[in-house]
């Protein structure tokens, strides 16, 4: 048993050894735990510091990239804006530069850990590419045909790598963000006062000039929408006479300081101004520029015209009288439409335009006034047709003293009857502003007005004989007129031409056109003698076939007379055809079109015969007439080309669609579609915040500086949510009556935009002294509303607006300083009227290349998150 002695010792020792082992393990574990904890702690600290660097880096990059060209930062981003930066890599490799300008606070934070912390930041801008617009082929990445890419606008990637070492623990963060350079102006919009565009179905460009009268309730009056083209900026004064205007055309338009057009209409023939019977005005046809586009349903045959002219103390031209007396009884009626040349507003007495006598303004005024029914009409200037495009307006003081008894027209006539020789001068007095309006219209259709007419047989029995004779001829199953159309398929040839002006109605026919000089040898006394079989050789000599000539002989005698053709020859003198592809569907039967600009030039013609602008616009030799695919003659005017160039290729003239086989961009608005967003707002309200059911206005949250009470917004912002409209009243500062904004931005919202308060540039203190501004600090705001623009305020709104799906509407008389654009424009939606005063600030055309950089905004965007990735290891 002695062997068992002392065994307890061993047992205890074993137990103690186990305990010792456990203790050692615990200590070892605690050391490991402590070490791991320490690493986790250091990792978190290093990550926090690293995130500080990243946040501050992007924060300062975001703030400084548009801050100007001074200093190394400005230099970097100026370089990014250069066209030559495409495909290059801009290294931000200077540690000092990054530390000093982009991460100064994070650097200090790191240094505050004494020597425990160190950090390195590297960054570069890479993958710099022009905005890839609608590539046709993925491989080549070429833009769609017809699109000229703005090489200043770019996509790029900003990459930053941060390495933080904290107490020996190294943490790396790599972050990339999408970088964009975007234009903050919309070039085509920026040069017009009114822009009605979008030829694509169902948004046909449309101007409904239901102005002046509500036929459902004629007690209601309607105000005009006045387009003020801001010539006062050009001339530096608000009152000017005709000589100054003429000089202004030559010195400013020709030098490109002012765009040639202020009104753009892309398609459809519509009443250019308020010359519209439907509107309840101009029944008495004040033959001014305003009455040049009378509606299709106001045909006036020569007899009616004679009656009308007699009533106003004028008479028809000799040619018209002959046609009336010699041709009509034998064949039918020629319908004409009142056509004016603008000169009427300047001529007090009778005058002559293109060989035709016209009455001066005074007689028209008197006729208008004396035959106008009702007090309301007399007092309503909107019905006069004079103020729609801002020709005249009351000066404020006079407005307040308006005499209800005399009415607006009474004042006009009184003023006109005073000592002034010209109508224009009558406006330049103490009563009226002349808010200029040589409204030079740029566009394919509204650059046209109806001059001539259609021809309608009234003797149907005779017409039946014509048809019968035609049918009896062998080898023909076509009508006479069909063969004529066949014969003019090549307008460039020497064969028979007609003025091909659209689809004629039953009994209406186009008029054959004879070659120049063909009628010259016919003596005066024989002008009324119709061509007969004996003249066959003459017609064969100019290329007519026997069949064509026989068809011609089927015509009534009156239409075969030389004087008939002479008359049309004169009428066609200025009838350069200038219209859109589908114009046939929109114009009255048989109408011939001529450039509206001709009338403007006629307006200026007397005073300045050698006006270079006039020559530029009138001389067809300076344009490039072309035969289009549709057989129409199109004047590719140099002004088209000039504007196309100034728009930087963003917009291609609709006329190009007629001339180019590939017809690029004819059916949509590239300037609207090809916009890159720098920020997206999926919904105007974020319902996670704010009062329950109301949410927080994200626009305000993001872009409103509560401290200064200013909307501070730059870049291109898309609002995709349409549930609620964007109301500018929600961007008001406390106690303010209107929104102030700074920065240059385009807001494109899929929903509605409601201007229920004034919106002014930060720099506009006094709304009566608004003026254009250019440069870095000039605020610009463009709003494109797919859901439509609505005015619910008569306070000043300084912005360029485009109402896409619906015409602009207003419940208050609005005042817009900028551009009003729309796919269609319906004055019935703006019955209270308004004023659009053009703001040239949005146009970069007068700026140098370096100055234009300020109009491009560089922005960091998130786009798809997985590509804006952040990695830490």
């Amino acid at each position: 048993m002695s062997k068992r002695r002392g065994s307890i010792f061993y047992v205890v020792m074993i137990v103690l050894s186990v305990l010792a082992g456990i203790a050692g393990t615990l200590i070892d574990m605690s050391i490991d735990e402590s070490h791991a904890t320490q690493l986790a702690y250091r990792s978190e600290i290093a990550l926090s510091i690293g995130e500080s660097f990243v946040d501050e880096f992007f924060h300062n990059v975001d703030k400084t990239m548009n801050a100007g060209s001074s200093g190394p930062i400005g230099g970097i981003y100026d370089k990014l804006r250069e066209e030559s930066s495409i495909d290059s890599v801009i290294e931000l490799e200077s540690t000092e530069y990054i530390s000093k300008y982009l991460v100064p606070n994070s650097k200090k934070l790191c240094e505050s850990f004494q020597k425990k912390c160190s950090a390195v930041v590297m960054a570069r801008i890479k993958d710099i590419q022009p905005l890839n617009i609608n590539p046709r082929e993925r491989d080549t990445q070429k833009p769609k045909l017809g699109i000229k890419v703005d090489k200043v606008e770019k996509d790029a990637v900003l990459e930053v790598l941060v390495e933080v070492i904290y107490e020996g623990y190294k943490k790396n963060l790599a972050v990339t963000r999408s970088l964009k350079v975007v234009n903050t102006t919309i070039a085509p919009l920026s040069v017009f006062t009114l822009f009605v565009n979008d030829p694509s179905f169902p948004l046909q460009s449309y101007w409904s000039s239901k102005l002046g009268m509500d036929f459902a309730d004629d007690r209601k009056e309607q105000k005009s929408v006045v387009l003020d083209h801001s010539w006062d900026y050009v001339f530096n004064k608000s009152d000017y006479d005709i000589e100054e205007l003429t000089a202004g055309f030559d010195t400013t338009i020709m030098q490109g300081e002012v765009p040639p057009g202020r009104v753009f209409m892309n398609s459809s023939v519509v009443p250019l101004t308020n010359g519209n019977r439907e509107s309840g005005m101009l029944q008495n046809a004040f033959f001014s520029a305003e009455s040049e586009l009378l509606p299709p349903f106001l045909p006036m045959d020569l007899e009616q015209k004679d009656e009308f002219l007699t009533k106003v103390g004028a008479s028809m031209s000799e040619e018209e009288k002959v046609i009336l007396e010699e041709v009509l009884p034998a064949s039918g009626k020629i319908f004409t439409r009142p056509v004016g040349y603008g000169y009427e507003v300047r001529a007090r007495d009778d005058y002559e335009v293109n060989g035709k006598k016209r009455s001066g303004y005074l007689r028209y005024m008197e006729a208008f006034e004396s035959s106008w029914d009702g007090e309301v009409s007399r007092k309503n200037p909107s019905k006069s047709g004079l103020d729609l495009f801002g020709r005249v307006e009351y000066k404020p003081g006079v407005l307040n003293q308006e005499d209800d008894e005399s009415g607006w027209f009474g004042k006009i006539v009184k003023a006109a009857s005073d000592a002034y020789d010209e109508m224009v001068r009558s406006f330049v007095n103490d009563t009226y502003h002349l808010r200029i309006s040589p409204t030079v219209v740029y566009g394919n259709v509204l650059a046209s007005y109806f001059r001539v007419m259609d021809y309608k047989y009234t003797r149907m029995d005779e017409l039946k004989e014509v048809w019968k004779a035609r049918k009896d001829r062998e080898n023909s199953n076509k009508s006479w007129w069909a063969s004529v159309w066949d014969g003019i398929s090549d307008l460039g040839g020497d064969l028979l031409k007609t003025v091909k002006v659209g689809f004629l109605g039953p009994g209406q026919y186009p008029i054959p056109e004879l070659p120049a000089g063909f009628l010259d040898d016919i003596p005066q006394e024989k002008l009324k003698e119709s061509f007969t079989e004996s003249d066959r050789a003459k017609f064969k000599a100019i290329g007519w076939s026997d069949d064509t000539f026989e068809d011609f002989l089927d015509l009534p005698e009156g239409m075969r007379s030389p004087i008939f053709f002479k008359f049309f020859e004169k009428m066609r003198k200025y009838s350069l055809q200038y219209f859109g592809k589908d114009f046939e569907n929109h114009i009255p039967k048989g109408a011939t079109l001529a450039p509206y600009n001709n009338s403007i030039m006629n307006y200026l013609r007397i005073t300045e015969n050698d006006s270079p602008f006039k020559k530029f616009m009138l001389d067809p030799e300076k344009g490039i007439p072309k035969i289009s695919q549709t057989g129409l003659t199109v004047l590719d005017n140099p002004l088209d080309q000039k504007v196309d160039q100034e728009w930087g290729g963003e917009y291609v003239s609709p006329l190009k669609g007629l001339l180019d086989d590939n017809v690029p961009l004819k059916s949509f608005n590239p300037f609207l579609y090809y916009r890159k967003a720098t920020d997206y707002i999926s919904s105007i309200y974020d319902f996670r915040g704010g009062k329950k059911g109301e949410g927080v206005n994200v626009m305000r949250k993001k872009y409103f500086n509560e401290k200064d009470g200013i909307l501070d917004i730059n870049g291109v912002i898309y609002i995709t949510g349409t549930a609620r409209p964007l109301r500018f009243s929600e961007l008001l500062a406390d106690g303010k009556k209107y929104v102030r904004y700074k920065g240059k931005s385009i807001i494109i919202t899929f929903g509605e935009v409601i201007f229920d308060v004034g919106v002014r540039k930060y720099t506009t203190k006094d709304s009566s002294k608004i003026k254009p501004q250019w440069g870095k600090d000039a605020p610009l705001l463009t709003v494109v509303a797919l859901g439509g623009i609505q005015f619910e305020t008569n306070d000043l709104v300084e912005a360029t607006l485009y109402s896409f799906m619906n015409p602009p509407t207003s419940t208050r008389h609005f005042t817009l300083h900028g551009t009003l654009g729309s796919s269609e424009f319906d004055l019935a939606r703006s019955k209270v009227g308004g004023v659009v005063k053009f703001d040239p600030s949005y146009s970069m055309s007068k700026l140098s290349r370096s100055e234009r950089k300020d109009y491009y905004w560089v922005a960091l965007t998130d786009e798809i998150k997985k590509y804006s990735w952040k990695a830490a290891w």
Partner: protein, 158 residues
């Protein structure tokens, strides 16, 4: 007389040696245990600080304006749920404050002259420091502490 059992000397010697060894081992056990607890506490503290840092980073500037005194977690929760600032979609079930004393310091960051282009408060940066303190498991008279500091900008929803 049987020789079974232990002699007194054996017992005394064993007790003596065991006492000596236990005296040495037990503190080791305690130290090891406390070390594990200490690390555990610190881990929780670091996690708490990191979590709160994320909360602050995701909170609008207007909810937590800068001030000299630190915000407590309870105060933070109240502010997040208060009135217009209510984060109805945010479940903020932080439990660390039962164990830790947590201070959330929010400070404005002075813009450098080179980078200052806007006075818009929404576009400025701030510094957040999360300080987490707790009683040391080793020495209850002492306080342990972790501290996370980061600069941040306001992230608004889009």
């Amino acid at each position: 007389m049987k020789n079974s059992g232990f002699t007194l000397i054996e017992i005394l010697a064993t007790i003596t040696i065991a006492t000596i060894m236990i005296t040495a081992i037990f503190p080791m056990l305690s130290i090891g245990q406390k070390g594990v607890y200490k690390s555990s506490d610190k881990n929780y503290a670091v996690l708490a600080a990191a979590d709160l840092m994320e909360v602050v980073r995701g909170t609008e500037f207007s909810v937590l304006p800068p001030r000299e005194n630190p915000y407590s977690v309870q105060e933070l929760r109240q502010l997040l749920y208060k009135g217009d600032n209510a984060r109805r979609n945010l479940v903020f079930g932080h439990v660390y404050e039962d164990k830790f004393a947590i201070g959330i310091f929010i400070q404005p960051l002075a813009e450098t002259e080179n980078t200052k282009v806007s006075d818009n408060e929404n576009k400025s940066m701030r510094q957040c420091t999360i300080v987490v303190r707790w009683e040391s498991v080793m020495d209850k008279s002492k306080k342990e502490e972790v501290r996370l500091t980061s600069l941040y900008v306001e992230h608004t929803s889009g």
